[in-house]
Symmetry: none
Subunit: 125 residues, 2 copies
Amino acid sequence: MVEYMNDRLDAVFHALSDPTRRAMLQDLSAGERLVGELAAPFSISLAAASKHIKVLEGAGLVRREVRGRAHVCRLDAEPMHAGMEWMRHYEAFWRGRIDVLEALLLAEDAAKGVDTQPRKTETKR
Amino acid sequence: MVEYMNDRLDAVFHALSDPTRRAMLQDLSAGERLVGELAAPFSISLAAASKHIKVLEGAGLVRREVRGRAHVCRLDAEPMHAGMEWMRHYEAFWRGRIDVLEALLLAEDAAKGVDTQPRKTETKR
DNA sequence: GCGATATTCAACAACATGGTTGAATATATG
DNA sequence: CATATATTCAACCATGTTGTTGAATATCGC
């Protein structure tokens, strides 16, 4: 069950990690699209687009209905739910981060008697 | 700017698409960890763990502070924010699961900060 | 200085990814 | 039926990912 969830998250996050695939999903959010229509905006072969769509299908984000020679694709955003939930677990960290971290740093510095610089949201790297 | 955002999303989603890396983040959510500590739960070499951490760093999800011979890692969940926001656009699709119009209304409400909890965990598809 | 500790680096291997092209399949249409 | 359309399949290639091992680097503690 946990394993299953892990695989699911792997597939969803992997599918979303490609800009072409994200654009396809965005396109699909406006309605059904044929494979050819999904491929059109990109300068890649139809076969390449077909593979992207298969990745999306594999993650459950796209479902396909074969109507004659045309393959009609439509969005199924539900698998994103799991991804969102996983991330939501961390929401507190980027929300509270500034206050909590700042407080800790200030406290540390103060304890050390180091000069206390407001230390912007941090950006160093 | 859009390109930059795309690259950022690529990196974040890719970083999250691996179960080892997700487990490391989960570990880090409990506090700072050394590279060795992050590696310990997994049956992979230290070098392999080091690479995973570099991927997380590359996505901005982990920051490292070298303290002597020890590299102290800590979570920076902020980059997930962009991922969440991207996904949030699709939330209406798995929640409402109806026609686009209704989905758009829900999205608008959400954007206004209105409490959009239709309850019902929803599972139907 | 020496040896233990913490971590990276470099080289390699296996497999995945994303792209190509050309042929194959299936279906619509005149 | 013959041809155009919609799409996949198979083979191939270049690159990226994930893992390994062994050596290198840097630091700590005696």
